[in-house]
Structure formats: C-alpha cells, structure tokens
Subunit: 153 residues, 2 copies
C-alpha cells in the first residue's frame, strides 16, 4: 500500500471524493490523478515545478490550468497548504494526515527544515482568545542560514 504522510493514499483520495461530492463538484480522473502525482512528487513543491514534472511524465498530462484549479480545491479540502512565501515564490506542502508544523528556510540554499512546537499552538490560542479572534490557520516562517551554508562561509 502507498502511504503518504502516514495516511493510506487511497483513503485520502476517498475522502477527497467525498469532499467533491459534497461540494457538488465532479469526480474526475484528472483530479484524482493529480493527487497521486503530488503524493509521489514529494512534500514541498512549487506549481511550476509540478507542472514541468507532470508534463515530463509519459502519460498524465494535466494542463497548467487544471493544476492550478485542482490545487485550489485541494487547499479547500485541506490536503495542501501554502507554507512558504518567499519573494514571489509560493511553496506548497502536502499536509494531509500530518500534524501542524513550522518551517526554517535557508535563504542561501533553499533548504526547508520542519519543526513543531506545541507551544506555538497554545500561544496562538491564547493570543486569539485575547483578541476574540477565530483562528483558521497560521504560518510561522523562520528565514535564515542553515548550518551547511554558514560553514561554507
């Protein structure tokens, strides 16, 4: 069985189908295929990379438009998040089945390090309560230089 982030992939797709049905959208090969493609591509990705990678694969040629449209659906569904915004780049992450976490981003080599701290979730709750703000999600990005890059002067 194929597991993605500890969740069985076919289970995820089943849930996505439910989501589509519930929203009145259609279950298409394109949409389900894209879930496979993203799952096998890797955790973090930018849309252009994904488009090029998918296009380079023999079969399965979802158009750029469909990829953009489906990414949006997957964001609504909650399987994908924009986790890093650096300059004009947007880096997405497959988050389905994973606990929330944050990112360290090396501005020299682009390496992404994930970490999580329960304190951040608690802090969010306390701050939001204070401002009577209903949180939907949060994103903590720490930009800096990783150990390899700082040792290479």
């Amino acid at each position: 069985m194929v597991y993605i982030n500890g969740m069985e992939l076919s289970e995820l797709k089943k849930q996505f189908e439910q989501f589509l049905k519930q929203k009145g959208y259609k279950i298409t090969k394109s949409r389900l295929d894209l879930v496979d493609k993203i799952a096998s591509y890797g955790t973090h990705f930018e849309i252009e990379d994904l488009v090029m990678w998918i296009t380079s694969q023999d079969r399965g040629t979802a158009s750029r438009s469909t990829i953009y449209r489906t990414i949006r659906l997957l964001q609504d569904f909650g399987a994908i998040r924009e986790v890093i915004k650096l300059g004009n780049r947007t880096i997405y992450e497959f988050v389905a089945g994973r606990p929330h976490h944050e990112h360290l981003i090396c501005v020299k080599c682009g390496k992404i390090i994930e970490f999580s701290r329960e304190e951040i979730e608690e802090l969010q709750d306390r701050v939001c309560e204070e401002y009577r703000f209903t949180p939907i999600n949060h994103r903590l990005e720490i930009f800096g230089v990783c150990s390899e890059c700082s040792s290479t002067v």
Copy 2:
C-alpha cells in the same frame, strides 16, 4: 517634529542616507521623499496602493519602478518588511524603530491586528540553536476571523 513609530523621521532619513552612502548608492530626492510618503501613508501598505496614493498627490510623482526599487532598498536597510503574504498580495510594514511583532489577519474584512510575545523570540532562538540555523528574521501570520466579522455571522 514628526515621529514615526516613536523615532524621529529626520533621524531615520539620516540613517538611511548613511546606509546609501555606505553601499555606494546615491542620495536622491526621490529616495528621501519616498520615506516621507511611506511614513505619512500609514503602517501597513501594498505597493499598488502606495503607487496610486503617491500618484494622486499633487507633487511628488515617483514612478512605479522607482517605488519598487526604493522599497527594496528600504527592505535591505531594515525599515520595511514584508509582513503578510496572502494569496498573491504582499503587505508591507514600516518597522523602523519598532520591536518585532506578529499579525492576526482577518480573512473576511482584511483587518490586521498586531501583537507581540517574547516567547516567540525565545522559541525561535531555541529552535534555531537545535538545528544550528542562523535566523535572519521570522514571520508569524495567524489567519482567521475577527470579532466584528464573526458576530456579523
């Protein structure tokens, strides 16, 4: 005297001049004027809004290119930061002379609430130490719905 974020504006401009000189850039009317314009525009802004506002002012008509270029210089200088990245929008903030803080962003009305917690700075330091990562800056965005918007159903 004009204070911006608790710092005297002419002092900030003087420091900016030093920065330019040190970098081998020239001190131009355009650049210094833009600092005034941004200071009087308000804390948070998007470039397009700033361009339109500046263009609508009688005198002072920095071109879009110059604004983009100067904003970049002010970011390097440290007076301005990209604090919110929402979809394809980038919201900047005049941070000169202010302690670091984070933002709550209402996804319904766009309201921005600032808050700061010393814990976040400490947490950043601890996490970075653990990964031997040298932090340059960080950004915590909490997206959600503010009290006004949630009471209006």
